[in-house]
Symmetry: C2
Subunit: 322 residues, 2 copies
Amino acid sequence: MKIVITGGAGFLGLRLAKELLARGSLTASSGRAEAISRIVILDVVRAMLDDPRVRCVAGDVADPTLIAEVIGDDTATIFHLAAVVSGQAEAEFDLGMRVNLDATRILLEACRKLPVAPRVVFTSSCAVFGGALPALVPETWNLQPQTSYGTQKVIGELLVNDYSRKGFIDGRALRLPTICVRPGIPNLAASSFASGIIREPLAGVEAICPVGPETPMWLSSPRAVVGHFIAAHEVPAAAFGASRSLNLPGITVSVGEMAATLERVAGREVASRIRWEPDARIAKIVSGWPAGVETARAREMGMQADAGFEEIVRAYIADEHP
Amino acid sequence: MKIVITGGAGFLGLRLAKELLARGSLTASSGRAEAISRIVILDVVRAMLDDPRVRCVAGDVADPTLIAEVIGDDTATIFHLAAVVSGQAEAEFDLGMRVNLDATRILLEACRKLPVAPRVVFTSSCAVFGGALPALVPETWNLQPQTSYGTQKVIGELLVNDYSRKGFIDGRALRLPTICVRPGIPNLAASSFASGIIREPLAGVEAICPVGPETPMWLSSPRAVVGHFIAAHEVPAAAFGASRSLNLPGITVSVGEMAATLERVAGREVASRIRWEPDARIAKIVSGWPAGVETARAREMGMQADAGFEEIVRAYIADEHP
């Protein structure tokens, strides 16, 4: 079977591709496991992944001709990860609409033309929630995003749901917690600091924390979330019932607890590299996100949250500072 | 001030135009009442309304050039009523996406280019709700539409909200109950029967009711809803808080009660013209709609539901069979 990963040069996409290559097979639309013969990784930059089964394509995910060419008529599964992140979508409205909305629609239209409706895993976000939220957001809660990114992600979810209902695709829209700890460098996501305050101090660099220590974050490790991508793909469509949208498991940790955990794991000197410098623009976006969401449906499907934040930090150190 | 009404040749649009002409003024973005100097009615067919202040334009609401020309740089208010109705959007997916989604986006982009952010009243629908619903849907309830029409209306609401948050427009997205009694002829809305079972028997014609008498309907009269369009326009933006979406007031009446009311008001012979012929396709769509929704926010803004279904039927007879 052929798999397409959009936004696949990012660290989650690459991790997913490696995990898929290691597994070697995935459930096809037929319901049977099939060997993965080809993974196409599409991103604005060419991914670096050396495997005979992998083809890396650099290009614009909002270009219908490129999307038609990449998907062809033999794609069985698409993981649609490509997105302009929250902070950038807020600052560059038209770019966010183009990549987060138009490209999703172009992709879904290409999927609709396939001879067999493909499985589509769409990465949404807890930024779909907003407004006055209860401490634990119920599965039936209204989506009232307070950012353009969140708005575009809700629209993507709605399209994935309607295209699935119509039988054009077999979709799954996954609401990711903030991913922590992201390796690499800071990005334009409003949540970038959540990884930065762990990653930079461990690398001997100062990190600015733009929100107060009392701020609650809803987190998942990269390891856990990549596992959830694959688990959500493998679950039969019937398990989703009336909605293809799914809150992925996460853990609630305050930013202060995150800093304290870093100190406990890596020592006072490392943790002292966090500089607390409030930034009203970031704080406003982050304060609109949920502190925690109900994930009973995902847990019934067998998905588990990380054991705790200390385990997340230790896993990051094991992966990136071995 | 100049006002544009899209879908304005429909009966609600015409009723709204006449009501606005009779009022003579509306609150402008400045917050002050201004005389209505011009109403442009845009629809696929040319509206018939004879008033020196009215210009009627026939054209495609999804044509960016036409929309730019119609809105110009002097429009203060847009009532965006143009839509492909539920049954048709379900049968003709691409047409629904084009008119209900693309045209809304084109309109909002034209509004964004105006020198002063205009007030935009967008007509959404209770078809935004779906899945397992409580008898009375809370204001915080999730939008999980089970039709393409409902999906497209949620997306319209999300765009109106985000464009308002960004200051591109000053929008209001109104969730209409099923309008009853619509004059004229049946349309392709799945709810068309709700007016047909009153209108046709009163005109001496048989009407088919495709759902069972126990089916609850969430209804508003044309008189009430046109009043709510104007009231929602006049309310200051601040009254909407974190969401520009608003459940308009309505009343819950079962289809059986509707038939019984017709018999009480117009006699047994008239009511006997309702023929009960279940239609699974229509029943499936209608069963996904809410029986009633919470409307506390609209009532706080001064909007009132109809007094009862008997009053609705009597008002229809007074208007259409005087």
